[in-house]
């Protein structure tokens, strides 16, 4: 256990600059979103903004368009904006493939030549991923509430804490799910291969989900995509996050972690 804690603290120490910088940027982005939403709110231009959206975006948003194109919807944009989601997934894939990096650099030789069981490397990585997800979401939520408390115009309808919580939970589970997939690859392959494969899979899954929303024949395959269980537009409309979605994303993550434990225990540590 001491070895695990030392390993975790070393990994956190090494990742702290990246995590703090990313978290603060996300928090600042949330504040900026409140500022933008407040500006639009004051001029009452949400409807004009909605009219500017191309038809395929409207199709993707579906009945959620009115909710998204509102003060609360714009404020919550950070929890499902594609650029933010991709950046967070890239961060989490990088962290989840840490074991592969440690094997390649030879650092794993120094650790595992000592009385430390192999599984602690995976357990440490899971702890690191969980901590990072919690930190990112906490800072995003803090940014949202700080922005609302200081910059929201009077009369603007704030998104409810439940809605923010559901969006954060759904985003966190999506990150956890892809970290499980990346970790399974990272336990058996080189980091570049694991990262690229997970990234390509994520892109394919995202396209599959979007295609399913735009083209009905693709809908019957869309359930295969983890993004199908990431439903921010429904949440912005005030719906609750279904337990099924939580379970599916959780199950993918756990399967990935289990596979990572197995593969890492079996592999040769060679670089």
């Amino acid at each position: 256990m001491t070895g695990f804690l030392l390993l975790l603290s070393l990994s956190l120490k090494r990742a702290r600059t990246l995590l703090i910088a990313t978290g603060l940027l996300l928090a600042a982005f949330q504040v900026l979103l409140v500022l933008i939403a407040g500006s639009i709110q004051r001029t009452g231009e949400f409807e004009q903004l909605a009219a500017l959206l191309p038809p395929f975006v409207r199709a993707i948003l579906g009945p959620a368009m009115a909710s998204v194109m509102s003060f609360g919807g714009i404020v919550c944009l950070g929890y499902f904006d594609l650029a933010i989601v991709i950046a967070l997934l890239a961060l989490i894939i990088a962290l989840a493939t840490l074991p592969a990096s440690e094997v390649e650099t030879g650092f794993a030789d120094l650790i595992l030549a000592r009385p430390l069981r192999r599984h602690w490397i995976i357990t440490r990585t899971i702890a690191l991923v969980l901590f990072s997800i919690l930190m990112m979401l906490t800072l995003m939520i803090a940014g949202t509430w700080a922005g609302l408390a200081t910059l929201a115009p009077e009369g603007a309808q704030w998104p409810s804490p439940g809605m923010i919580g559901s969006l954060a939970l759904n985003l966190g589970l999506l990150m956890l799910c892809w970290s499980g997939i990346a970790m399974a690859f990272g336990a058996a392959c080189r980091r570049s291969v694991a990262g690229a494969t997970t990234g390509l899979l994520a892109l394919t899954a995202l396209l599959l989900d979007l295609t399913g929303r735009l083209w009905p024949p693709a809908e019957r395959f869309a359930w295969l995509s983890p993004f199908r269980y990431f439903i921010p537009f429904d949440l912005v409309m005030g719906r609750a996050l279904p337990v099924e979605n939580i379970l599916v994303l959780w199950a993918i993550a756990m399967s990935g972690f289990t596979l990572a434990y197995f593969l890492f225990s079996q592999r040769d540590i060679s670089h």
Binding site: L6, R14, G106, F107, A108, L110, L116, R117, Q266, H271
Partner: protein
């Protein structure tokens, strides 16, 4: 110390590692006695590092078993590795950490208490001052990293040191310091299992050598016995012209001869040859000590049994 009653520090039985059709290590059998320094020799790709990594459970064997102080390297890996200080051939260190951070971290996960005074002694001997230890590793030279690697292996004073090419990248002065460290470790009863390319180093510090060729152990011998396998170079100078005798004693081979000088390689005792020389007008005789290098090179080149 009576080492025969103690279990071997390392015991390897039928250890084999295959990568698909390639056999990196084939049926290795080897015992390293407690308290000895064993040099593990072989050309690049001979299987030295593979054997070391198998002992540390970094690689999984295709077949065979290995034990460290009687503990199975895989079934009781933690107990086995608890007694080991390891220096890898290539040190995988993060450049954003300082030397002290690395040593504290690796000392912490070792389960072996690190005596601060001993560590300071290592810093002094290997000339790695605190000002350097507080610097990030990205500012370290190859030699400094190697010193840090040696300190992390020696700092907990483990009963068994497994060192992969320990003097690679060290300057001659630091090599001397390392040899002194090794001598001290041996005096304290520590066992050392080290791979090396530097034959003069092995000759100087090791009690025995194990020679690997293409994954197979081809020689396991004490240093003196190994040297006896090598020919001595003998040069004989005569006062007047002499004829080469038709027969030489067994183990004697002419390398070069002229009417007044003979160059020979001699394996075995020189007595019979001296009997031959007693009848000749010998002016001078030079006998060059057998060198380990000659034995090893012979095994490398000729594939001697």
């Amino acid at each position: 110390m009576n080492t025969s009653a103690l279990p071997p520090a390392i015991s390897i039985r039928g250890l084999t590692k295959r990568y698909g059709p390639l056999t990196a290590l084939n049926d290795l059998n080897l015992d390293v006695v407690q308290g000895e320094v064993l040099g593990f020799l072989g050309l690049n790709g001979a299987g030295k590092t593979t054997a070391i990594r198998l002992l540390l459970d970094l690689l999984r064997p295709s077949s065979g078993r290995a034990f460290i102080f009687g503990h199975d390297c895989w079934l009781e890996g933690l107990a086995a590795r608890e007694r080991v200080g390891y220096l890898p051939g290539e040190l995988g260190l993060y450049p954003d950490l300082t030397g002290l951070e690395v040593l504290d971290f690796l000392g912490g996960i070792s389960r072996q208490p690190v005596d601060k005074r001993r560590r300071q002694e290592l810093f002094d001997r290997l000339e790695l001052p605190h000002s350097d230890l507080r610097r990030k590793l990205r500012q370290y030279s190859t030699g400094m990293k190697r010193k840090l690697g040696l300190i992390q292996a020696f700092q907990a004073d483990p009963p068994l040191l497994i060192l992969d090419e320990p003097t690679e990248g060290l300057d001659p002065l630091m090599q001397e310091s390392f040899y002194t460290l090794l001598k001290d470790a041996k005096q304290r009863g520590r066992t050392v299992f080290m791979s090396s390319h530097v034959l003069s180093e092995v000759e100087r510090v090791c009690d025995r050598i194990a020679l690997l060729r293409k994954g197979e152990l081809v020689l396991l011998s004490g240093m003196e016995a190994s040297r006896r396998l090598a020919p001595r170079r003998v040069r004989v100078f005569f006062n007047e012209d002499v004829r080469v005798p038709p027969d030489l004693p067994p183990g004697h081979e002419f390398v070069e001869s002229s009417p007044r000088t003979w160059h020979l390689n001699v394996v075995g005792p020189l007595g019979p040859f001296l009997t031959v020389l007693a009848r000749l007008p010998v002016q001078d005789l030079e006998v060059q000590e057998a060198r380990l290098e000659d034995v090893v090179l012979k095994y490398y080149r000729e594939g001697a049994p």
